[in-house]
């Protein structure tokens, strides 16, 4: 059950009543316009109440909304896209879509975690949970990008890396670790957009980037709220509480320096005005690429390193190497 979807259902009843009233008033003349205004005001107020300020748990539900734009919605809006398949070894993973594309005329390499729109597609896409083969495909395309000086644009949307037996048997750890290593050195601009769920290491594997864009109601978390609750309290039902604690919202993460830019969403979420919104996100990506394309390649990697070097919160009791005279 998605709480945002539930709210939308309750609003729908009201929408229907407004619609009916409108139709009746059109038939009978302007007499019921006061009822009408009252209803419309109530509707707007309800909307603001429901969506004006979202709690972390509400955002979790928004990030998982069944009509939220998914990777394919963004890819479909590129000037061009040619999917490149496979890790050259074992399998083509449909949960990680990669390829060559063109955004506002600029040639790019696309990496995207792809959920499905319906159950059938979701099963085929493994609900966006990437297997080692998917990460190995991603790594291969990162290297292709490096070789031909093409910037990398990644769309992040996964509850986490696939946790199945087969993925363990083919070393999910090594697959993710290798992606990170490759992104840490690839001498081209890397822009990541957290478009839905950014779940743990499985998300980070394609999100280590020069510029990380986060949609207002997306989440990006060290663990899924359910997973966190299960691990800490052996009680997955306390997910809402976990969501609040984990600081997984775009505001939190901008504050920590983990996210570089937020794209605000229309009232009620990205899916309320999907077409325009997708365009805005792509525009934001394009602007970031424009900016990064002017940076010299070595400096680019240097700055990327410096950016991640700073992230964290620790204290130092004394100077490092206090015990070492030589330094």
């Amino acid at each position: 059950m998605n709480i945002i979807v539930e709210r939308e259902k309750s609003l729908e009843a009201l929408e229907q009543r407004i619609e009916d009233l409108r139709a009746r008033s059109a038939r009978q003349g302007g007499e019921s316009s006061e009822d009408m205004r009252a209803l419309e005001d109530r509707y707007a107020a309800l909307q603001r109440d429901m969506f004006g300020h979202l709690t972390p748990w509400e955002r979790v539900n928004m990030a998982r909304h069944p009509r939220r734009p998914i990777a394919s919605d963004y890819i479909a809006r590129l000037d061009e896209f040619d999917e490149l398949h496979g890790d050259r070894q074992f399998r083509d993973d449909p949960a990680l879509v990669g390829g060559l594309g063109r955004l506002n005329g600029r040639r790019i390499v696309v990496l995207a975690q792809q959920k499905g729109r319906d159950t059938k597609e979701n099963i085929r896409r493994n609900f966006g949970m990437v297997t080692p083969e998917g990460y190995r495909k991603a790594r291969r395309l990162m290297e292709l990008a490096g070789r031909f000086a093409l910037p990398i644009v990644s769309f992040v949307d996964t509850s986490g890396a696939d946790p199945g037996i087969a993925s363990e048997e083919r070393s999910q750890s090594e697959a993710i670790a290798s992606c990170l290593l490759t992104l840490s050195r690839v001498p081209v601009p890397v822009v990541a957009a957290i478009i839905g769920e950014g779940g743990s290491g499985g998300a980070l594997a394609i999100a280590l980037a020069d510029h990380v864009i986060m949609l207002e109601h997306s989440i990006y978390s060290v663990a899924s709220p359910e997973g966190c609750a299960a691990i800490l309290w052996a009680d997955a039902s306390r997910a809402e509480e976990a969501a609040a604690r984990l600081k997984l919202t775009s505001d939190d993460l901008l504050g920590f320096g983990i996210v570089d830019e937020i794209v605000s969403e229309p009232l009620g979420g990205a899916h309320r005005d999907a077409d325009r919104f997708v365009g805005r996100v792509l525009g934001t990506i394009d602007a970031a690429l424009s900016h990064l394309s002017n940076v010299n390649r070595e400096l680019l990697v240097e700055r990327r390193r410096a950016k991640y070097r700073r992230i964290g919160a620790w204290q130092e009791t004394s100077q490092r190497f206090a015990s070492v005279a030589a330094r």
């Binding site: 890396a161 946790p163 199945g164 037996i165 993925s167 363990e168 048997e169 083919r170 070393s171 999910q172 750890s173 090594e174 993710i176 670790a177 290798s178 990170l180 290593l181 840490s184 050195r185 743990s200 290491g201 980070l204 280590l208 990006y220 978390s221 060290v222 663990a223 997973g227 966190c228 299960a230 691990i231 800490l232 309290w233 604690r245 984990l246 600081k247 997984l248 939190d252 993460l253 920590f256 983990i258 990327r304 390193r305 991640y308 070097r309 992230i311 964290g312 919160a313 620790w314 204290q315 130092e316 009791t317 004394s318 100077q319 490092r320 190497f321 206090a322 015990s323 070492v324 030589a326």
Partner: protein, 293 residues
């Protein structure tokens, strides 16, 4: 810097306690005399079960000469103001007391055989060896110093993954440590990882599996997802050997599986292959603190 007081304190405590004279092996049930167990590097003399080791005990098993600890002054904060059953800061405090460690990893310089190395040892006894900011910062700093001093790096992992209580700041340590590993690697110095029980999650999916040579300790549980998570996902019991070091060797994930008593000799041989005999990293001069002793 010599072995810190914590360790001595812990040992004294243990030796004072009557009950601590005998330990029951969780694998075969044998009652083992503690001193004999310690002499056998914490490996059950009956069934070969590897007991988890305290970081400083592990360091003592591996090194020659002294241990020059660095990064000890890097200490945790509470960036998320986290509290569940207890506040995060309280949890840290009790872990410090119980483990006699300031965080889940100890980093520094030492000699293994005749090879000066940068050495990091994780400890499952502190917050399940989870990687928060401090683990990330200490590992990063260690690799940076190793690069600067042209030293090989040896990291002994033991971790439940990223630390929930530091949220995304914990996850980002995967990126931070990776970039330090990368710089060290590109400068041409060797990195050997020793994976011990357990190594999972954010640590296994970052620096643990980025090493030039990956050694796994016999029977250690190693994987990305934890056993419990997988069992919940597939709704069935996993085979006993799943995610063990031996299983991973067969699946081609790790280079070598060793029993703990052979670990030090194995590391010395590996360093002997990988460290350029003519490089500055070959002499103890790379760590003046060691050379001076």
């Amino acid at each position: 810097m010599p072995i810190p007081d914590w360790l001595r304190i812990r040992r004294d405590k243990q030796q004072n306690a009557e009950a601590a004279q005998w330990v029951k092996c969780p694998s075969c049930g044998e009652l083992l005399y503690r001193r004999e167990l310690e002499e056998n590097s914490g490996v059950c003399t009956r069934c070969g079960h590897h007991f988890r080791l305290h970081a400083y005990d592990r360091i003592n098993l591996l090194i020659d000469r002294d241990f020059v600890e660095v990064g000890a002054e890097i200490l945790p904060r509470d960036p998320l103001s986290w509290s569940d059953r207890r506040p995060y800061l309280k949890k840290l405090e009790s872990d410090r007391e119980a483990s006699h460690l300031s965080e889940a990893i100890v980093t520094g310089f030492a000699a293994i055989g005749t090879f000066p190395v940068a050495l990091g040892v994780m400890d499952f006894g502190f917050r399940g060896g989870t990687m928060g900011t401090v683990v990330g910062e200490r590992v990063t700093y260690l690799f940076e110093e190793a690069t600067r001093r042209q030293l090989p790096c040896v990291i002994v992992t033991a971790s439940g993954g990223a630390r929930m209580e530091e949220g995304m700041l914990a996850l980002m340590q995967m990126a931070k440590t990776t970039m330090a590993v990368d710089a060290h690697m590109r400068a041409g110095f060797p990195y050997i990882a020793v994976l011990t029980d357990p190594t999972t999650g954010g640590v296994s999916a970052s620096f643990a599996f980025q090493a030039d040579v990956i050694v796994a300790e016999s029977r250690a549980a190693i994987g990305f997802a934890g056993r419990r998570v997988i069992e919940q996902t597939i709704r069935q019991k996993l085979p006993d050997n799943f995610q063990t070091a031996e299983f991973l060797l067969e699946k081609g994930h790790v280079d070598i599986v060793v029993s703990r008593p052979q670990l030090r000799a194995t590391l010395i041989r590996l360093l002997d292959y990988l460290v350029d005999g003519r490089g500055p990293g070959r002499t103890l001069q790379a760590v003046p603190e060691l050379a001076a002793q």
